[in-house]
Amino acid sequence: MLAYIIRRMFQAVAICLVISAMSFFMLFLNTDPALMLLPPEAEVADIAAFKKQMGLDRPVLIQYKDFLGRVVFHGDFGQSFVYKVPAVQLIMERFPATLRLALAAIVFINLVAIPVGVISAVKRGSFVDNIFTFFALMGQAMPLYWLGIMLIIIFGVWLRWLPISGSDSFAHLILPAITLGSWILPVNMRLVRSGMLDVLNKDYIRTARAKGLPEWLVLGKHAFKNAILPLVTVIGMQLGLLLGGAVVTETVFAWPGMGQLVLDSIHMGDYPVVQAVVVVFAVCVVVGNLVADILAALIDPRIRLN
């Protein structure tokens, strides 16, 4: 168990490194941030001076080494080219709101997906199952930002039930969380459904019934814990996707997270900020995966004891 977790942690760190390297080198593919940041009429000398000032004139590998050293030992991603303040500071001011949104979405997703998936599986082929399946298909076809806009129009503008922007109260969280969650919800619902169907065909379910257990125990104890396993392992992965989705959702709902900042930074090639975002996301993803792995090990003795 311990070796398993340690191994997973090593992998996690490696993944962070790979992602940071990817984000770092991708920016060098063909952009020249100096050209992007300076006004078009800037002289060649101005550009050179700017590069020197920002450390952009050195070889790429050296820059990466420096970058890594600064990040790992000082948590320093450098100054934002645009805002002229440390990138980390920019991110950290906004990150908690984004994380809050993503976590709210996870809770919403699984609160809905698990019961719906279980009901669908147990009542397979029934009217309810078909309705749920159809909604899941619709959900998967819906671009989340469009859903956000539609929800704003319907619940914010027409019905005036819920606030459409900001983050002052719990009510503010409802529409963004639903919007963000609706993207992953169908995936998880189908995962629970198929997991449950799979498990219901297993021999040990027959054994449980042959023992004379009431159906709620068969489903609730013997089937559920096994059926939920595949879900647990993907939830960790989904944290990353949700953080990405949150960026988009935030721009629709004017949620004060990192959404707009991230988009603007990418747009303008403000790459200290982009790199900081990428690494913060990677760390979240990796922590999420680790938690999922540990959860899976707790549920499944075959992982825990081998």
């Binding site: 070796a3 340690i6 191994r7 090593f10």
Partner: protein, 332 residues
């Protein structure tokens, strides 16, 4: 029958070992090995059937797969038709082993579901250039006929056949390579009882007609004894006893062979009494990852003495061709 056999080894296996590494831990290093096959010697003569019998996990399937070249054995030598087939270049190995073919256990997974029968067999002929393209159809019909299938089955897909028929197709595919030795790995254990006899008889007939040698791998001693001229009993990666079918049945010298013979339920009247009178072999087979010291069988052996716990028992020839790996062979 025995006259057809000559004492001319078709296949000679010496000290064959297959150890699968176990990789574990934080840095994924090898922490041990599964000693699946741990020093096995046997030979098969021309026209002879050797039965390899043992319980699950004893390494009998691994032996078969090493022969065929599906696994790269850890150590040992395999001499087939007078030539070493281990440690050869891939190309050479392919030609050397061409005449050693395998029949698989599960007729439901041993045929590619997306290929017609004629392509399954035809592919073999094509890849190895065994017939002129224009004679291919005829050769396929011939092969199907040999295994008792109609030639118009060639256009069908595997799922249109029953288990027994599929096994016949698998045999035809192996025969397409014009083998000298068939390695049959549990060829009937996935089949229904009433169909097993059909396949066993077919294998026997083919062996006669084509003068093949055969290695019959099975957990079922009754089947092995029926088809084999000689039998080798495996336990935990080693052969514990080899001998003629008659010697082994009438005069088993290894306590494991003895227990195996006793444990097999007989389809005869008076079974209850027989069950109640037999001596049981207790315990489970130890793990091949961490085999016991000394004789691998000693934790379950009714004849165990101190020496068995310390040393590896030698191979003792108790009568001509009857070899036992035991310190106290034959003692009941």
């Amino acid at each position: 029958m025995a006259s057809k056999m000559t004492d001319d080894p078709m296949l000679q296996v010496e000290g064959l070992k297959m150890h699968f590494p176990i990789i574990k831990g934080v840095v994924r290093r090898q922490v041990g090995s599964v000693f699946a096959v741990d020093g096995v010697n046997f030979h098969i003569n021309k026209g002879e059937t050797l039965g390899l019998v043992g319980e699950s996990g004893c390494g009998k399937t691994t032996v078969g797969r090493c022969l065929i070249g599906l696994y790269r054995s850890t150590a040992g030598s395999i001499i087939f038709e007078g030539r070493e087939v281990i440690n050869q270049s891939r190309k050479k190995m392919v030609t050397l082993r061409r005449r050693m073919q395998m029949i698989f256990q599960d007729p439901y997974s041993s045929l590619n579901p997306r290929m017609r029968v004629r392509d399954i067999i035809g592919e073999v002929l094509k890849v190895h250039g065994l017939v002129e393209p224009k004679n291919k159809t005829q050769r396929i019909a011939e092969l199907l006929d040999q295994v008792g299938l109609k030639s118009d089955f060639a256009a069908r897909y595997p799922h249109e056949f029953s288990g027994g028929q599929r096994q016949r197709i698998g045999i035809a595919r192996a025969l397409a390579m014009e083998p000298r030795i068939l390695v049959a790995d549990e060829p009937v254990s996935a089949l229904d009882v009433s169909v097993q006899a059909q396949v066993i008889n077919l294998l026997e007939r083919l062996k006669q007609d084509l003068n093949l040698s055969m290695l019959m791998i099975s957990h079922d001693l009754s089947v092995v004894e029926h088809v084999a001229d000689r039998i080798a009993v495996m336990y935990l990666g080693k052969i514990v006893e080899t001998g003629s079918d008659r010697d082994l049945y009438n005069n088993p010298h290894h306590p494991y062979t003895h227990a195996l013979l006793e444990a097999i339920p007989q389809p005869r009247a008076g079974g209850r009494a027989r069950r109640q009178s037999r001596k049981l072999l207790g315990g489970d087979v130890p793990s091949p990852i961490d085999p016991p010291r000394g004789c691998y069988f000693h934790p379950r052996c009714p004849r165990v003495e101190d020496q068995c716990k310390r040393d590896n028992p030698p191979m003792v020839e108790v009568s001509p061709g009857h070899v036992v790996s035991c310190f106290f062979p034959g003692k009941k």
